[in-house]
């Protein structure tokens, strides 16, 4: 039963990544693109955790945690760049 649920969730996460890619490509403003990248990082975390459940190893949690941290830092850095034209002043 878990396999079917996992397959369903894989399809959902892949579809949402594709939708985010559409928003990233055609987003009318810069803020839209930053938001799309942030959401892509969150969907990537979901995909990594699902893959960890499917493989029954806890090896992917560190990768998911790193994804969360790097996604947050990159979003903040890009927004700071848009706001000030510089990241570390």
């Amino acid at each position: 039963m878990i396999e079917y649920a996992l397959n369903f969730a894989f399809v959902c996460a892949g579809l949402s990544l594709l939708i985010n890619l559409w928003r990233l490509s055609f987003g009318p403003t810069i803020a839209d693109r930053v938001l799309a990248v942030d959401t892509m990082a969150i969907n990537g975390i979901a995909l990594l955790v699902l893959y960890g459940i499917g493989r029954a190893t806890s090896m992917y949690f560190e990768a998911a945690l790193l994804f969360a941290m790097v996604g947050f830092v990159s979003t903040v850095a890009y927004c700071k760049f848009v706001l000030r034209g510089d990241i570390i002043e």
Binding site: L6, L17, I19, N20, R23, A31, L35, T75, L83
Partner: protein, 139 residues
């Protein structure tokens, strides 16, 4: 008992997948950026949160090891989501919203984006009367 545990884990995984899809669908469907900021929070909280709870239960029941790594990711996402939303909103306000026409006044020097460019009237007209210049003259 085994069947019940599998049922709970599967339902949590399905809920997580559905909510990640709903969050990304809202990102495409909603018409305005400040509305679009609202949609992916569903994917962050309910989507990733229920998937992480499912993985915690899975490793607890299937392998007998109770870990709280997943809670770490959940807490980190919950802490950082408002900060990113605030910064994206500020970037949008700075770039695409006129602070003097479309927004109410903040009542302070800074605008809503904190780093708004100043209105042309707020710049001093005579650069010779800047306070730094006067201080330099007296030296």
């Amino acid at each position: 008992m085994e069947f019940f545990a599998e049922l709970v884990i599967s339902v949590l995984i399905v809920i997580g997948g559905l909510f990640t899809l709903i969050g990304s669908f809202g990102l495409v469907k909603l018409p305005h950026l400040l509305m679009r900021l609202h949609a992916p929070t569903k994917a962050t909280t309910v989507g990733v949160g229920s998937i992480l709870i499912a993985s915690m239960l899975f490793f607890w029941i299937e392998q007998g090891t109770f870990t709280i790594h997943e809670l770490l990711i959940t807490i980190f996402l919950f802490l950082t989501a408002p900060i990113t939303a605030n910064l994206i909103g500020k970037a949008y306000l700075l770039r695409h919203v006129d602070p003097h026409e479309e927004l109410p006044h903040t009542g302070e020097k800074e605008g809503w984006a904190t780093f708004d460019p100043r209105h042309p009237e707020e710049y001093p007209k005579d650069p010779g009367k800047l306070p730094q210049e006067e201080a330099r003259k007296t030296d």
